[in-house]
Symmetry: C2
Subunit: 346 residues, 2 copies
């Protein structure tokens, strides 16, 4: 199978996407084709055998051929007298973390051009990339989340009990997130968060809260789960640590929370996944507080695809690629226009 990895893009996690994509060389057994979206959304075909992060920071990627979207895939322009060349691939893996990849822009573009891809479809991207919308969605599918307040720029923000955690609604990887311990720290934290987004949420900060990660997907109506991991964290993962985390390829250590909690985490995952996330492999991060499971966040394109949580990621990946969701056929037959024409006697 030939897998075209589309990565980079306009995102605060642009660099993370590069690291995550290069890690796929050690994870997937398929033939990989690397398509890089730069900061201007120009797309380049980077040869798989020489890809490395320095190519991007140096700007050397611009030496390679430019690639454009077309119906069903991608093409490179020909020279004078030369025809356009199509890129040969079977499926796209959208590995653009953060903006573009995770906010629905890239999934929509892939959908628009009828390109088969592994990633959440547009709706699932929108729900999981916006913490405010995630809260509303989780509540609709009866999955607990921590209490929160939602504010947009200009709103008066009153916090009654500290500490709280303050997050821009739309970023991942802890960018713009602050733990606020007192009224004095609040204004600065607001300034930081509003630099990245016009909307924020504030949640109680529970020191030492246990977090558990579960990745999974659905193939032919059947859920396939990873192990549950308790990630090693300090207060919360800062960008540097998360950056390294995105290149993980060695297997994680399973944690056993007992049958009741293990099940509760899996049932919550199922309710969140169904059916919005079809076609994707996602990682859900849960808190457990007083034996109750709360969703923290949905990683719709987890770092290095959370490969390290699965026994046999490569086989799972292939199964997902071979069972992508199909769009309902929408017939367009001009029944009404014809009716009007007929009634006009034309």
């Amino acid at each position: 199978m030939k897998v075209a990895i589309v990565f980079g893009g306009v995102s605060f996690e642009h660099e993370i996407s590069i690291v995550s994509s290069i890690a796929m060389k050690d994870v997937l057994k398929e033939e990989l084709i690397y398509l890089f979206l730069d900061a201007s959304r120009d797309m380049y075909h980077i040869p798989t055998d020489i890809i490395k992060s320095k190519l991007f920071s140096s700007g050397d990627y611009k030496k390679f051929e430019k690639v454009y979207f077309q119906k069903g895939g991608f093409y490179k322009k020909g020279g004078l007298f030369a025809k356009e060349k199509s890129i040969d691939f079977d499926v796209v893996l959208n590995l653009s973390h953060g903006g573009d990849g995770e906010d629905g822009i890239l999934s929509s573009v892939l959908d628009f051009y009828s390109i088969p891809f592994i990633a959440p479809r547009t709706e699932a991207c929108v729900i999981s990339s916006n913490k405010f919308l995630t809260k509303g969605y989780a509540s609709s599918v009866e999955v607990n989340t921590l209490d929160y307040k939602y504010f947009t720029k200009g709103d008066e923000v009153v916090v009654e009990t500290f500490p709280v955690i303050l997050k821009p609604v739309k970023l991942g990887s802890s960018i713009g997130v602050s733990i606020v311990k007192s009224q004095e720290e609040l204004e600065y934290a607001l300034d930081v968060a509003y630099e990245f987004d016009d909307a924020i949420i504030i949640e109680p900060f529970i020191s030492g809260v246990k977090e558990y990660n579960l990745a999974g997907t659905k193939v032919n109506g059947e859920f396939k789960f990873s192990i549950i991991e308790e990630p090693q964290k300090t207060e919360f993962l800062d960008f540097d640590k998360k950056y390294l985390d995105f290149s993980r390829t060695s297997k994680a250590k399973e944690v056993d929370l007992g049958e009741k909690l293990n099940n509760e985490i899996k049932e919550s995952f199922k309710r969140l996944y169904n059916n919005l996330f079809e076609g994707s492999i996602i990682r859900c991060d849960f808190f457990v507080v007083n034996d109750k499971v709360y969703l923290n966040e949905i990683n719709s394109i987890p770092g290095s695809m959370a490969n390290y949580l699965f026994e046999d990621f490569s086989t799972l990946f292939k199964e997902v690629a071979n069972n992508l969701p199909r769009k309902k056929h929408i017939p367009i037959n001009y029944e009404y226009v014809n009716k009007i024409q007929a009634s006009k006697g034309k």
Copy 2:
């Protein structure tokens, strides 16, 4: 101002989009450029002076020049030795009703290519085009909706009290919607709805419920509202009636519900619009039951842009076009890649 109307697309409301777009000739005073997306998402430039619905039903639109997306706009391919030609325009009006236009696909594509456009951005499209997500969102911003139950294909559906109204979650214009008066009618209604979508919602059907429509937008932080209209309806608008409704250009009649309800409707609109719907002119349809306001649905791209509800639509349109939301700048500077390179001593 040159307005490029992008219409058609893969949608059950493809035909409605054609009618709605042609109606714009009587509504907007700007220079119009018509870009038609056909059932295969091939795009054609239709000359404004000869556009009519028959061009599309007959397939004659294929005689015109093909158009492609490019960074900042659209281009037509040149012939041998001829260069590509860009299309000259100032702003796009996304008038593709239903799928593509309203589900976030087209807004994402426009965003991806950095094309300025009037329509909800991707997030707002997703929320308003999916009735289940609309319910969750309305609840998050403290706007009432009628009680509902959500089902996906294969779920057991038990209805306790008839009549109910059964709707596919993702279609507009009453397609696939049934009023179900008894257990006997339920199975057929489910079959109809599941033909269009894999997920449905069921609400109590309130016979003779009053519906009120309010359109509006926000320009420079200030809300601009239309009049409130009580649309003339039978049980619910079927597709034929809605089809004619989408070509409305004559002014609607204002209804006065008294200060309290007028305000409640406007305040609900504001909470729904903020800030997700920036850059768009939307119409919200409300029910009033026992003096309480409930959101029925958000029309993110209303038929003929709900022009008939506004005193001076043409001026409003221009104001929106001149005040489109700006995306936050996302710096991409390879700080982390450089750090890693440096620590490797390379």
